[in-house]
Symmetry: C2
Subunit: 509 residues, 2 copies
């Protein structure tokens, strides 16, 4: 490599290195790291699941500037153990129940390190044909596992692409839908374009709309209600869209969600698509978390009506054993994406692209450079197989049912929204749960906030919260790969213990 030849600065320095990719040194250090990570998984329950460090802790521990001379991997790993691990919130811990899972697996890990090892930059077919072709293949595989209509698959003239996160995917589809609409009604209508979601839609939609230049005043968050289980009501959508049209605005994009982040609410895809169709509105279905479950026949009905949508996403890095990041986006009309996102600089021109026989994924996403993400999804699909993947998802749902039962059996608690998948939303009440809290919202919220803080500060389990319809709610999302039934039972015990303490300490209301 010539690259790290002796410089006069380093002459006679015993730490001088020869080749940053020397295969034998790579092998030595690589094995060391595998053991380090395997040990981490082995010991993961000994760490507090939510990191308890204070803001600024690390600055006090690390030097002011980068070292001039090389340091050994042994030294660095000691620092990882001493300084980094205490500052990590252990998403892989079996006691992790916050947000949504980030379900790692051996296969996902191996796929990631294979693609890191090859380190190809697959912006177009030509730059590494296998990266593009494997992606097309696994996206059709997974699309079929989900029983997506053929129109979403390459074999039906649609197709799938792996992006980093749902935020990127929504931004790409918004840009495509926006340009398609402006193309029809004239670019001067930009200011009139309206985006729709519910008050439960992920903030990714608002952010994507903002980045895409949609005017803030044209971003609609349609109110949902508890009586509708926080799903977006098609009639509310129709009324809102109609009013906008009457006001001279141009509706163009709806994001419907299957499994919202707060409570896993379900927007009814079919009826919403019918409304959208009447107004020529692009429908994106965000099933970031719950989409994975739809490979099980018993959950597939949640995306019924998907044939009326234009695009669909799920995050394989959430609940599908594929390491971060891996968002699966399918579209029925790739040309709409390509029209908005393609560029053809001279330095990328090549025969394969000119032949039009290949997919150039750079035109399906925001970024030019792209990692070989298909590798990890391929390894997950093959290493576990459809059967095991279904079992994996079902086992989490089963554990969530158990947890839900435990909550329901303690009359100090109430389950706050239907449990559709493996997320249980609940709260504690200062009195039996058949008495209304309507006049005591704030103290009840405070009680739950205190309870959650006390649980999380214990480091024994980590759950997160949300506020829906004014109520502060604790979210228990089951899905960490290492979680077993015993962890769920223990988590519930931890909650009960902390609730006992809260009740003793406080005299509420």
């Amino acid at each position: 490599m010539g690259s790290l030849k002796l410089d006069h600065e380093l002459e006679n320095d015993s730490h001088m290195m020869v080749n940053p990719l020397d295969p034998e040194e790579f092998r030595r250090q690589g094995h060391m790291l595998i053991d380090f990570i395997a040990d981490y998984y082995q010991n993961i329950e000994s760490y507090k699941v939510l990191s308890q460090v204070e803001p600024g802790y690390l600055k006090k521990l690390l030097p002011e500037s980068a070292p001039y001379y090389p340091e050994s991997i042994e030294t660095i790993l000691q620092d990882v153990q001493k300084y980094i691990i205490p500052g990590i919130t252990h998403w892989q811990s079996p006691n992790y129940f916050a947000y949504f899972p980030s379900s790692g697996s051996t296969a996902g890990f191996l796929g990631e390190i294979l693609s890191t090892g090859f380190n190809v930059v697959g912006f177009n077919w030509m730059s590494s044909p296998a990266a593009t072709e494997l992606e097309c293949i696994v996206m059709d595989w997974l699309g079929e596992m989900l029983m997506l209509p053929k129109s979403f698959l390459f074999k039906g003239n649609g197709g799938g692409v792996l992006q980093g996160t749902t935020c990127e995917a929504i931004l790409c589809t918004i840009a495509a839908a926006r340009d398609q609409m402006l193309n029809q009604c004239g670019s001067e209508k930009m200011e009139k374009l309206v985006v729709y979601g519910s008050d439960q839609t992920h903030s990714a939609l608002q952010k994507a709309a903002q980045i895409a230049g949609i005017h803030t005043k044209n971003f609609r968050t349609i109110k949902t209600t508890k009586s509708n289980s926080f799903g977006l009501c098609p009639n509310s959508l129709r009324d809102t869209v109609r009013a906008d049209v009457e006001a001279g605005l141009v509706p163009f994009f709806l994001c419907a969600t299957v499994g919202t982040t707060s409570t896993n609410a379900i927007d009814p895809i079919g009826p919403l698509c019918e409304v959208a169709k009447d107004f020529n509105v692009w429908v994106h279905v965000d099933a970031a978390y719950a989409g994975s479950a739809c490979i099980c026949p018993e959950f597939r009905h949640f995306i019924d009506g998907i044939e009326g949508a234009n695009s669909f996403t799920l995050n394989a890095h959430k609940w599908f054993l594929t390491t971060l990041d891996c968002c699966c986006l399918w579209v029925t009309d790739p040309s709409a994406l390509i029209k908005s996102l393609s560029t053809n600089p001279e330095f990328l021109r090549n025969k394969a692209t000119d032949s039009k026989l290949v997919v150039d994924y750079k035109d399906w996403q925001i970024t030019l450079s792209r990692r070989f993400r298909a590798m990890k999804l391929w390894l997950v699909l093959r290493s576990y197989g459809v059967a095991n993947l279904r079992n994996f998802l079902r086992s989490h749902v089963k554990m969530a049912k158990l947890f839900e039962e435990l909550v329901r059996n303690d009359n100090r608690f109430e389950v706050i929204a239907p449990r559709n998948f493996a997320l249980v939303c609940f709260r504690v009440l200062p009195w039996p749960n058949n008495i209304s809290v309507a006049n005591h919202v704030e103290p009840v919220n405070e009680l739950n906030k205190k309870l959650l803080e006390s649980i999380n500060e214990s480091g024994n389990v980590y759950m997160s919260s949300t506020v829906v319809d004014g109520a502060y709610i604790i979210r228990c999302a089951i899905g960490a790969t290492l979680t077993e039934e015993r962890h769920v039972i223990r988590a519930w015990k931890v909650i009960q213990e902390h609730a006992d303490r809260c009740f003793t300490q406080q005299k509420l209301v």
Copy 2:
């Protein structure tokens, strides 16, 4: 984990698995993979550097759908060897000279697998404090290595963030600059906003402007000339901006480049910033490739004047031993980014954020979820040290000088643009290079296209091309980690041999 317990489908199936993150199985398979990748590096020169497969090759080799039952890692790795590797273009090969390097290293790899192992989702400080804090620290470290003005560092109230690619970074800065400008002049001016670059600026700018909703007709690519070495001329910028202002338009964003993709041209940062300042235009400096070299004192002058810019990027995944993806973005005013990109959903509310003592990187980028990218940059900085990193970069520049000399010594060839770093742009001529080609542009371009095709099809080396000022040019970018002087000398021999053949086969002009 309960997760992969027996389903009736899998009962009595010997392939049934127990735990997708079982530490011992992880260890066994992990070690296997490390050897697989180490062997790949060991044998990398035995593969044709540019993949020679035909479009659609992989579909013929893989099954129609995902397997129902699990497959062993041994089977999968055999398939990687048999089916995937032939379809890979070997960016890590020492004979890879195309586009820009994707310089892998043991430290970069180890950092990536550590962060994959932890698999944390560091959207905000709270979700994994170490991920955020280490990022702030290494961004200040690297900023100081580049001698960036303090205003770009956290210690000077600016700051850095790791994104995936420059495309994302430019989009974020365009959105920030756009909203800042609209805030001043009113949102109805959206249609009037103008973006500036040169005809050599990366297509990332055009794409970002398009995604951000800037009107196509307001995207300016200012012409550069060979006499200016394809750098953007400040006077041309001033004239263009002034004309736009006079036409009632609103200039707001300039992307200046240090080391353009086609020829490594340098836009003069200082003088361009002065023009921009007069018109209140945000300046982003894109040093995706060449920025790395600026850690060497002798190259630092290329970013002189950076104190007048608003944002600066380099891709550590290009020429800084850090695996894809790792774009370093620094800004002088993080609040401008945050104003455009922040969201505050209930499910992410937490004490640390409320305290305002922490950085929440979700508000500095497009996506919410984010990988722990700082880990790999930290490992690269520590494992090699400033001294070795400089040597690494210098060794490539030295090899590029050698290559340039070889080209210049063969009077059938000409070097087409100044070699500022480790990229040499050249072409072959059908007659001695002191005779003008002005009247024979097409046949000369055809000759070079044929030559490059023939070189690349040999599989011995891989170079890429561009077109500048009407001339088709071959690009030789030296920077693969494994490249040594002998590879460069051999590459030149390959070119000469193929040129000999082209000359024999064709009678040109």
